[in-house]
C-alpha cells in the first residue's frame, strides 16, 4: 500500500486500537510475566548498546583514517 492512499484518520484510529489492545494485554499479564518482560528489556538495551558502540567505534575509525589521508588533512595545501 503506497502512502498516497493511506487515510490519516483511519491510520491514527488503527494505531490507537493497537495501542489499547497492547495496554489491555500488558495489564492482564501476571507479575512473573511482567518481570520476565523487564528482564528481556535489559537484553534489548544491551544489544542496542553493543550496536551503538560498534557504530561509534566504526565512525571514529573512519574519521581517523580520513584524517590520515593527505587529501583530507586540514593542513593540506592542495
Amino acid at each position: 500500500m503506497s502512502n498516497d492512499i493511506l487515510n490519516p484518520e483511519e491510520f491514527e484510529a488503527f494505531v490507537a486500537r493497537r495501542k489499547l489492545a497492547w495496554r489491555e494485554h500488558a495489564i492482564k499479564m501476571t507479575w512473573e510475566e511482567k518481570i520476565a518482560a523487564i528482564e528481556r528489556m535489559w537484553e534489548r538495551d544491551k544489544s542496542l548498546k553493543i550496536a551503538r558502540d560498534a557504530i561509534t567505534k566504526a565512525r571514529l575509525e573512519k574519521q581517523q583514517l580520513d584524517l590520515a589521508r593527505p587529501d583530507k588533512r586540514i593542513d593540506s595545501t592542495d
Binding site: 499479564m29 512473573e32 518481570i35 518482560a37 523487564i38 528489556m41
Partner: protein, 168 residues
C-alpha cells in the same frame, strides 16, 4: 528475581532486616503494565546495632555470604541489581508497614500498595514519578479515598496539583 526475593526473606528471618517491602518500578509492575527498570528497590527497617546505630555493613556482608556481590550502590543477587534503602521518612515507613503480601513464583513477598506507591511518587515529584501516578490511577489500581487521605496526611496537595496540571 526469585533468588533476590528469597535472599531478602532470609535476611528478614535472620533479623538483619526488621521489615521490608518491594517498591519502585517492580512494585508498580504488580499493578500496571511493566516499564523498563534497572533495579529492584527495597525499602526496609534495618535492625540497629547494639550501639543504636543503623549500619549497612553487616547486612551487605551477610548478603555476600549468601551469594550476592556489591556493585556501586547495588547488590547483585541472582542477576538482579537490588537497592536496599532504609525507610527514610514517615510516608515510606507507613508504606512498608502497610505493604501487602503478594505471590511471586509461589513465594509470598511484601509489596507496597498502589495507593502508597502513588503517594511516594507524588512526594518524589520527578517527571517519571508523575507518569507512575498517572499509570496507577488510569489502571484503576488506586482507591480514591485512600489516596486522598494519604495526600492530606503527608501534605502532598501541591504535588497533586502539579500532577493534575501535567495530566489534564
Amino acid at each position: 528475581m526469585r533468588l533476590a526475593l528469597e535472599t531478602l526473606l532470609q535476611l528478614q528471618r535472620e533479623a538483619l532486616l526488621q521489615r521490608f517491602a518491594i517498591g519502585g518500578a517492580i512494585a508498580a509492575s504488580f499493578y500496571v503494565e511493566a516499564v523498563a527498570t534497572e533495579d529492584l528497590d527495597v525499602f526496609a527497617f534495618i535492625t540497629p546495632q547494639p550501639s543504636g546505630f543503623v549500619l549497612l555493613t553487616p547486612l551487605y556482608d551477610r548478603i555476600q555470604l549468601l551469594g550476592g556481590r556489591v556493585h556501586n550502590e547495588h547488590i547483585i543477587i541472582g542477576g538482579w541489581p537490588v537497592q536496599i534503602l532504609p525507610a527514610f521518612n514517615p510516608l515510606i515507613e507507613a508504606a512498608v508497614l502497610n505493604a501487602t503480601m503478594q505471590n511471586f513464583e509461589s513465594i509470598q513477598v511484601p509489596v507496597i500498595s498502589a495507593d502508597y506507591l502513588a503517594a511516594i511518587a507524588l512526594q518524589l515529584g520527578r517527571a517519571k514519578d508523575y507518569q507512575r501516578v498517572d499509570a496507577l490511577i488510569a489502571a484503576g489500581a488506586c482507591s480514591t479515598q485512600a489516596l486522598n487521605a494519604l495526600i492530606a496526611n503527608y501534605n502532598l496537595q501541591d504535588r497533586w496539583e502539579s500532577y493534575v496540571q501535567r495530566h489534564s
